[in-house]
């Protein structure tokens, strides 16, 4: 029977993402956060003095800022139990042969070599807090494209790095951006020169593998004038019993006429606190698109944002969240129109099941003088059962009369009538539910590269297993 095969495949997937390797760390910091830890991280990375100073300053900001109360419940997050730095191998490897065997096995199981065989152009993979495997195809380097680990970016391109690092998301932005600025480790550094279009997506894989491991990746992407790129980041994490913590910062510079798409699907384990700040500054005629999938974690607070600072700039956020039992997905987006004729669109889709809760939290701001700006916000919530919960907090601040704003929100339950219609054609109930959910997220899935759309559907199917009844 078809149902049985699906079930077997899904159980294999559970195994696939739940395995756990022996710990083989070269260096593992003590638990908790202190000045000493920050100094150690900086010295392990052999950083210049200015970077250490910035880290320490960020630590002060972090200590001074209170835990935010407006979003999800952070009261059970115990910072003293977290490792702030883990490095799995003593150096970064550039070729596949240099990657240690057990890490290779992990990558095998995550399917990275397959992704490579699909001739993806550059694969940067983060294992724990450090890049261990990183490669760019020759033609990209020849065009002047830089795709490095963030550490290599600092080492090899100090001027470019210093010019942009921390300018899009300053340490003072929020408590967790400050934390990241103090202890960041791993992430990508990308620069695309003027007029260069990178046609194939650049990808990085992230994986957290130590109990109570804090992961503080930091990514800086600079698209110079007229440049074009698509960056994809996917995360999976095995399941552990105590709470883990992830707090990333993504900064993107979209110069005049440049075009950047950033796609991420996170599937952190269900005990993960996932607090990420991702923001782009978009110059005139530039275009930024965030595609943001949040499936895993205990609590995610993530609001990709676009600051549209040049005339004609545009921003797009496609956000999809799945909140199963015990999960809270607090996601959405921010659009700030700070120049004339800027356009933005936010499409948010959330699915909640059982005690799962999904929140749309969005800010739309149109500054005085941003004449002729157009913004459209659409958020749709799908509830899989009676217990599921969703709420919407759209903040709208409009200082310009001459602007056009649209906002629409819908909440739907999977209806008996829809299910019956599909089942009356012979489709079993579980598959019928999955079809309805897939249809619901279709507007976002169609924007993804095919293998990611398939993966997204598969992960949601996997999560929905057992929701029947």
């Amino acid at each position: 029977m078809p149902q049985d095969t699906t079930l077997a495949a899904l159980n294999l997937d559970e195994y696939k993402f739940g395995f756990r390797d022996e710990d083989t760390y070269v260096y593992k910091s003590e638990r908790g956060l202190s000045r000493r830890i920050v100094e150690q991280i900086s010295s392990m990375k052999e950083e210049p003095e200015w970077m250490l100073k910035r880290r320490l300053k960020a630590l002060d900001i972090y200590d001074a800022k209170p835990v935010p109360k407006w979003g999800g419940d952070l009261s059970t997050l115990d910072m003293d139990r977290i490792y702030f730095y883990v490095r799995p191998a003593d150096r970064e490897s550039r070729s596949w042969d240099d990657v240690p065997e057990d890490i290779k096995r992990t990558f095998d199981r995550l399917g990275i070599p397959e992704a490579e065989r699909r001739s993806l152009s550059g694969v940067g993979a983060q294992y724990e807090s450090e890049m261990v495997y990183h490669r760019i195809k020759d033609e990209l380097s020849q065009k002047g494209v830089i795709f490095d680990s963030i550490e290599d970016g600092l080492r090899n391109h100090p001027d470019l790095f210093k010019r942009y690092f921390g300018t899009i998301v300053p340490a003072s932005d929020n408590k967790y951006a400050a934390l990241n600025a103090a202890v960041w480790s791993g992430g990508s550094f990308i620069y695309v020169p003027p007029g260069v279009e990178v046609e194939v997506p650049l990808q990085a894989y992230f994986r957290v593998n130590t109990e109570n491991l804090g992961q503080f990746e930091r990514t800086l992407i600079i698209a110079d004038e007229g440049a074009k790129l698509h960056y994809i980041e996917g995360c999976t994490a095995p399941t552990y019993s105590t709470d883990s913590f992830h707090s990333g910062v993504i900064e993107i510079v979209v110069s005049r006429g440049a075009n950047v798409r950033y796609t991420t699907i996170q599937n952190w384990s269900k005990n993960m606190y996932n607090l990420v700040t991702q923001r782009a500054r978009v110059e005139s005629e530039g275009r930024m698109a965030w595609t943001d999938g949040n499936l895993g974690s205990k609590l995610t607070m993530k609001y990709p944002s676009c600051f549209l600072v040049g005339p004609g700039a545009s921003g797009e956020i496609l956000s999809i969240a799945y909140a199963g039992p015990g999960q809270h997905q607090d996601a959405g987006g921010k659009m700030v129109h700070a120049a004339p004729h800027t356009t933005s669109e936010i499409i948010s889709k959330s699915i909640s099941k059982g005690s799962g809760r999904s929140t749309y939290r969005g800010l739309l701001k149109v500054h005085a003088g941003a004449v002729g700006s157009v913004s459209n916000v659409q958020c749709d919530a799908l509830l899989l059962d009676e217990a599921a919960r969703t709420d919407t907090y759209p903040y709208i601040e409009i200082e310009e009369q001459n602007a056009s704003i649209g906002h629409e929100a819908t909440v739907t339950k999977i209806g008996d009538e829809q299910l019956f219609y599909l089942m009356s054609r012979g489709i079993p109930q579980a598959e019928a539910r999955t079809m309805i959910v897939r249809g619901f997220i279709e507007p976002i899935a169609r924007e993804l590269p095919l293998e990611y759309a398939v993966e997204l559907n598969r992960l949601i199917e996997f999560e929905m297993e057992g929701s029947v009844g």
């Binding site: 095969t5 009538e417 089942m423 012979g426 489709i427 079809m435 897939r438």
Partner: protein
């Protein structure tokens, strides 16, 4: 699988003393329906608004909001009423809905292919190209644009497009019994003829599909000559006859049947 060849003379569908209601509403809507349909036969079911025609269709297809309170239904010789709707469909029952549902984000092609594969073993899925050939051929017969296959199920369809899409699904799924609930209403003359020809082809020529055709109007019966016509009044079949009964109703309305029934019904 049930081997029907052994009882070739047995009716495909037999309904005996069926009583039923909307779950949670105490009042019975069907109050003892008897009906037999053999392979390849076309039965028209008529009757005033609210007499229970759609209720019968929903009970036959297993809608969760309806329940049988008495009687039995055999389909291909097996009890039907305990089965889930998807199981009934896989055994060969198809309901063309009076009000088809919208399924946003799911294309007609994907929907029908999933339904076709649900009838097959996992290793025996219909090859994608064969499916598309089949689909496009049927759509051409029903004079639908090829791009229609990629539209989302019933979303933004006109009334007539919805009905046509139901017939398209029927033609591809090739059921043994099609229950068609007012498929003719909302169709323009040309569409009506196309749909009727499609039904006749399936019933008389290709697959000896049986049909229970719920309708208010004689006009579809100009194209589809029914073997039997039944009139449902207040949850019972008040009258059965040949094709001429539909003509009589067309000219006289239902009152003459109601009147005949009145003394017995109290």
């Amino acid at each position: 699988m049930i081997d029907d060849r052994q009882h070739i003379d047995a009716p495909l569908l037999s309904i005996r003393g069926l009583r039923g209601r909307v779950t949670d509403a105490p009042e019975e809507i069907l109050r003892g329906v008897d009906l037999e349909i053999r392979r390849g036969e076309i039965h028209a079911l008529m009757g005033p608004n609210g007499s229970g025609k759609s209720t019968l269709a929903k009970l036959l297809s297993g809608h969760p909001g309806y329940e049988a309170t008495g009687g039995e239904v055999l389909f291909r010789g097996e009890p039907l009423l305990a089965l889930d709707p998807d199981e009934r469909a896989r055994r060969g029952i198809f309901l063309a809905f009076q009000y088809p549902m919208e399924i946003p984000g799911v294309s007609i092609a994907n929907f029908v292919r999933t339904a076709m594969n649900a009838r097959r073993a996992a290793e025996d899925e219909i090859p994608v190209l064969d499916f598309y050939d089949d689909l496009q051929a049927q759509m051409a017969t029903l004079q639908m644009e090829p791009t229609f296959a990629e539209r989302f199920v019933n979303e933004g369809f006109s009334g007539g497009e919805k009905k046509r899409s139901e017939i398209l699904q029927m033609a591809l799924l090739k059921p043994e019994l099609a229950v068609m609930d007012e498929t003719d209403s909302g169709l323009d003359v040309d569409a009506l003829r196309l749909v009727a020809e499609g039904v006749v082809a399936l019933a008389r020529e290709r697959t000896s599909m049986a049909v229970l055709l719920i309708t208010h109007y004689q006009r579809i019966l100009n194209y589809i000559t029914p073997d039997r016509v039944h009139v449902l009044v207040r949850g019972r079949i008040a009258r059965s006859g040949g094709a001429e009964l539909a003509m009589e109703i067309e000219s006289r309305g239902y009152d003459f049947i109601r009147e005949e029934l009145a003394p017995a019904a109290v």
